[in-house]
Structures are given as C-alpha cells and as structure tokens.
Amino acid sequence: MTRNDSTDDGTDRDRLTRRRLLYSGAVSSLVFTAGCGGGSDSGTDDGSDGGGDGDGGSDGDGGSDGDGSSDGDGGSDGDGGMGTDTDGGMDGDATTLSVASWGGETEQEIVTGILDEYDSSNDSVRIEYQNTPFGEYSQTLQTQFAGDEEPDVFYLIADDAPTFMRNGALLALDDYVRGDDAFNLDDILDNLLEPFTYEGTIYGIPKDFTPVGLMYDTAHLDQAGAPDPETWSDMRTALEMVKSETDVEYPMAVGSQPRNTLMQLVWQNGGDVLNEDGTEAVIGSQEAIEALEFLNGLVEDDLAGIYEQDIEATWAAPALGEGTTTMAMTGAWVISTLEGDYSEVYDALEVGMPVPEGGEEATVVFTTSWSASANTDAPDAAAGLVKALTNEEGMWDWASTGTALPSRQSLLERDFYDDRPLLDGLGDLGSVGRPLVFGPKTPTILDSIMTEAEAVLTGDKDPATALEDAQRQINQEL
C-alpha cells in the first residue's frame, strides 16, 4: 500500500499545519457559534402529551389544571416558553413586570388579553408575558428561580406552593390584601386560600379552581333504567345496569394512576394520607384500603376501564363525548371540549359526587394562584398586578369565559351559572373540595400512592399490600 509521502515531508507538513490551523480556527468558531445558536431552539416546542396516567387531566384550555402528569392538549402549546412581548415599547419611567403562565391557545389568548388591558390602563407598568407548556412549567419556574431569572408574577399550582413558600421564594401579600375593603379577601373560599398560606402569611391568591366531580351521561342511565349515582352502591348498581343493558363495554373510565379518582374515595370513607399534624402517613388505614378495593372492584369486574388501555380515549372529554363510557371523575377542564365538540352528549351530562353510606362529602380540588417573586424589583407593582388579576373584576374577566370556576363566593353565586349546569354542579362541590397538597414532599407522596394504586389496577398487587407499602415509603420520606 502506498502512503501519502507529503505527510512525511517536513516543509509540506508545516504548510499543511498552518492551513489546518486557520481551518481549525474557522471551523471551531463556526461550530461553537452554531452550538450556541442551536441551543436556544431546543426544547421549546415539545408539547409532550404525557399519556401515562391519562386520568383526564388536560390543560388545554382549562384553568386550574386537573392532572399534573397528563396533558391532553399539550401539543398545542406552541409558544414553548419563549417570551412574548405584549408591548413592544418601553416608557422611560415605567416598571416592567415579567409575567408567566401556562395554557393552550385559548387560555393564552385570554390571559394576554387581560394583561394587555392592564398594561394599557396603567402608565406606570409594562408587561412582558412568557408562556410555558404545562408539562414543563414547574420545572422551568424552579430553574428560573435557581438562576435569579424568575418572572415577577406567575401562576403557581397548589402542589408546588409548599416548597416555594418554605424556601422564601414568594412575596408576602398580607400587607397588600388584608384590610383592603375593595379587594375583599374574605370573599375568597378559605379552602382554596389555605394551600397558599404558610405560617399565617398569604403568598398567593387562587385565581380559580375546579373540583373533581363524577360526570355521568343521563342518556345511558335512562336507557338502562339505572339510578343516579348518589352513593357508592348506587354507582356500582348503575354501572352494572349500563353494562348489561347497553352496548357500553366500560361504563366508567379511570386512569391507571387514578389521580382524579382515588383520593376523594379515601376521604369520603374516613381515610387520609397523613395524620393531622402531617408527621406520619396513614394511607395504609382500613378506610383507605376499602376505598381502593371499591375502585379496584369496578376495574376487575370490567365496570371501569383504563384510559389508553381498555378505553381508546386518553382523557374524559372524548371518552364521554364519543359515548365510549358513561361516567368519569373529572373537572371543569373538560367542559369547553364537550360543549364545543360533543354538544349532544354535553346536554345529557350531569355532575355529582357519590359518597359511601354514612360517609362524608369530599372531593379533590385543583387550584392555582397568581403569586409574585420575593426577589422582584418592584414588589408594589407586582402585588398590584396580582390584586388586579384576582379582584372581583379581574377574576370575572377570566372566569366568565367558563373555562374554570372563580375562587370568590360572590362570583360563584352569579346568574351566569344558572344556564351552565355542569359548571354550577362543580361549583356546588367547591366547599367540600380538598387540594392534593401534603407539604413539601407532595410530589413524592402522590407518586408513591399512585404507583401503588397502578400496581393494583393493573392486577399486580392487592389493595391492602399496596397501600401499606405506600404508607411505609411515605414514612421513610417524612
């Protein structure tokens, strides 16, 4: 084999080396520049759809998101966290506030509309808006805090609030909202304010909420001659009758990780996740086990099917809308889709929440606040914006779109809800709603319970062993 002799020639090699040096410099610069440029594009349009636990949570256009880990319409969140300036210009003396939220196209439009209005009616404040897909929102916000780049005012989901509050990340709002008669803090539902209160200080004002209710198709029940599901046994009877009298294969739909379905059953049956002072897990109690046994019994008897496995739909709106199922535990986030895409079924739907005989009324409630950063350069302006977004007028601007329920009692009582039975029915459940918040370890605690529940619903474990295992894991974390 002949070798290229030029590489052995000293002079020639030197010339090549110099040329290569120049080439290398140029190529390195190009690669480095390309790398920097390319980096900014990555990960902005992911819109991942989760899908794993598909218990109906879709943040599509909803307000308070139903389910942190399932993001039905995620793909539509095209903006992907890049800043969208609602006002190109900058006035000399104006304070610029950065504002962040998640939300699909409709929610984004509504939020930017409200912010635009605030911006144009306040000479002293300019607003820059960032939208981040729901699935990435929490992580993005925490990373922004780590880099001192957090927005001044932002959505904060109740699950995340304990961690933020305990770490001093949020602006205390007491001085701004307490004693302000026009703001009327007392009008806000106590159970919704609670997740955003730490050691007596308020760190966020709930912008809206949605309780989880059992939505059921009365047309299916009528066809089967089944009773309305007011108690657990009514519900099981109704499911059995629908299964035997109609061609609905799975009359109820649940997620394999039943975030929207399990906890209210546990509470209704007298169980809980932690003891009263939050120091010990009690999810392995007999009451909790019975609740999971009830749910698992429905799955084992094919009265309830699992999203994406037994039922093709990934969340409640298409499952109910297409008539695949009769009942699902879900929240207000499904209403706009049902109303828009499945109007016939929408008219036949009712909402309630069955309880066991002798049990207590309870359900899961999802809520999100407008909060401000403790490090904001303009605390007065930031708190002013939070108030403007959550006072009676600001909250109604958002709630009157019908995508979520207002967290003010006076707004819930408006005539607006008389023509909207599903929203009205969910609103009635607001007072018995409990947030899925269990202190700073909330994500780990929920993950333990839901993973164990999934093992039960997929036939891998019995309910007692699963919840005892969950209890042990949670106690280890605590």
Binding site: R18, A146, S256, D460
Partner: protein, 341 residues
C-alpha cells in the same frame, strides 16, 4: 485577487500575515514548540469541553454530597454518621439503603422498598438481554449483508433506519404498536394471543427490550460491516486451502479478526443499555407500576420531579461507577487477548 484596498483591509491582512508567520515559525521548531501548536489546535475543543462538560460534571460531583436548595442556589453538606464518623454522604446512603438483600430481597422483587435497587434490577435485566442479542444479531445481519445478495443496500438501509429515529419517536411508535388495541394485538387477537404488552407490569420491560433490540441491531450491523471490510481476503483463501468450511471460516477467521470491533461494540452497548432513558420515558414513563423505571429514568425523576438534585447527582455517580467498572474490565480482557503477530 485582492479585495482589500488599503485602510482597515490592509491592516487586517498585515495582522493575519504576521500571525501566520509567527505560527509558521513556531511550527518549524521541533518537539516542544510543535507541541505548543498542537495545544493551540485543540484549545477551542478543550475550552468548550471544559466549560460545558467537565465543569458541570465536577459541579454535579460536589452536588452529590449536598442537600441542594434550588431556590436559594446553595447547598448544605448532607451529613450522616457512618460507623461513628460524620461524613457528607447522606445522599449516597439514602440511595443505597436498605440494601437489596434486606426484607427478603424486597427491593429486587418490588419497587416499594428501595427504588434505586429496583431500577438497578430493571437496568441489569435490560442489559443482560439486550447486549448479547444486539451484538450477535448485529454480527449475523452484517455477515448476511456482506455477501452478494440482491437488494443488499435496501436491506442495510432498512436495518439502519431505526438508528436514525429519535428515542422519543421510537418510544411513542412502539407504545401505539403494543397498546391493548394496537397493531400488534390486532394481529394476535385472531390467534387468541392479544395481551396488553405495554401496559402490563409483567411484560412492559420485555417490550422495552424489544425496542432496544430493534434500535440497536442496525447500529451494530454497521460497525461489524466496517470491521468485515478490514479482514484480508488472503486469510479466507488460506482457510479454504486448508479445507475449512463456511462455519469454520466464520468461527476461526471472521470472529477472531473482529476482536477490536467486538470490544468497541460491547463497550458501547453496555454503556448505552445502562444509560437507557429516552425510549423508557417515551414508551411508558417508567411505568406501569415502575416496571420500566431504569436507573437514568429514576435519576431524571429524582432531579426534575422531586427536585432532589443532590440525591439525583449521587445516583448519577453511582451509575458512572458501575459503567466505569464494566468498561474497565472489558478493556482489561481485551488487552489480555491482544496477540502480537
């Protein structure tokens, strides 16, 4: 042709010219000075590598000994007592305890005791199946496609196609294929073999292995095809003259002559399977019931779902230790097999 016409242009040309002559002078000097030019050449890479890879790795190592507070951007040493000595290794101990054999091997049987060991179990099982089958499969496909068969290029492209797909896309495609109402079950239902392959904890890991094989065989095939081109034809000729049949030629000529390829393929496959992440996350998000939670999926969840960055960093370094030990011993074995001709 000169595009510069005095002014700044001529100064730039002058500066470049003088820089070139200085570099030329450096390059003309032997040994030490030549090294300097070498260092200059690699400098941009070293800078970028240090800034974006070595720096974060070192930082993560420090993090693994700390209880990190993301909001404050500060960490406290994660102290714990080990045999009466106070050491900042709480993250490592929390990850490793209870040990796998405690609770009657509970951590290996179920994710309810210690998720780290359960994730190790899943990853080792995945590696134990995927690595050998990927290697043997890649080798056999390469052998088949190294012969004169019709449509060879089409087959090569087809086998390599999965490598070009992103892990996330592969995971999602296979999730659909293996869903309870997916394509696979539509084919199996008439035979009475329909099963929720992806959503049953009993079969989800096996389904993940299948995706790993589907994606890995094509990659190994390319490496083996390249290796096959380097085996001199004379060796086969000599083997034929000695009366070796087809199998004997493969066994005694092809296989030993691919020693370097075997080493490369094995090390890459082990590293790749220990670090399996994208397909596991996209396929089933580590579920159902943790059946596909591999080590890297667990690290991701610990860091970005639970915000326990110190703990996640400790897991990452434990994984690094495992991969390093495997790679090192594979290298030692390779060295021992080295034959001087």
């Amino acid at each position: 042709m000169s595009t510069f016409d005095g002014g700044i242009g001529s100064r730039v040309v002058g500066a470049v010219g003088s820089a070139r002559s200085r570099l030329a002078a450096l390059a003309d000097r032997p040994t030490t000075e030549n090294n300097l030019v070498g260092y200059l050449l690699v400098l941009p890479n070293v800078v970028v590598f240090s800034l974006f890879l070595l720096g974060p790795i070192a930082y993560a190592f420090v993090l693994s000994f700390q209880e990190w507070n993301l909001f404050l951007g500060t960490g406290e040493p994660a102290w714990t007592e080990v045999f009466g000595v106070r050491l900042p290794v709480a993250n490592y101990l929390d990850t490793l305890m209870p040990l796998p054999w405690e609770n009657d091997w509970g951590s290996i049987r179920s994710p309810s005791y210690n998720l780290w060991w359960f994730a190790v179990r899943n990853t080792v099982a995945y590696t134990a199946v995927v690595v050998p089958v990927q290697i043997v499969g890649g080798f056999l496909v390469a052998l088949a496609l190294d012969t004169r068969i019709r449509g060879k290029k089409v087959f090569r492209a087809a086998y390599f196609m999965p490598v070009m797909l992103s892990a996330a896309a592969s995971g999602v495609i296979w999730r659909w294929v293996m869903a309870k109402n997916g394509v696979l079950n539509e084919l199996l239902r008439p035979l009475g073999l329909a099963y929720p392959w992806a959503s049953s904890p009993d079969t989800a890991l096996a389904a993940l292995m299948l995706i790993g094989l589907w994606g890995g065989i094509g990659f190994n095939m390319i490496l083996y095809l390249a290796g096959l081109q380097n085996i001199p034809e004379e060796l086969y000729e000599a083997a034929r003259i000695d009366g070796a049949d087809g199998w004997q030629r493969v066994r005694h000529v092809t296989w030993p002559n691919l020693r370097n390829t075997h080493f490369f393929v094995t090390v890459l496959a082990i590293i790749g399977t220990f670090q399996v992440f994208g397909i596991a996350l996209a396929f089933a998000e580590g579920g159902p019931a943790r059946a596909t939670t591999t080590i890297v999926v667990l690290i991701y969840e610990t860091a970005f779902v639970e915000s326990s960055f110190g703990r996640a960093a400790s897991m990452a370094f434990l994984l690094f230790a495992v991969v390093f030990v495997f790679s090192y011993y594979r290298y030692r074995i390779q060295q021992q097999q080295e034959v001087e001709y």
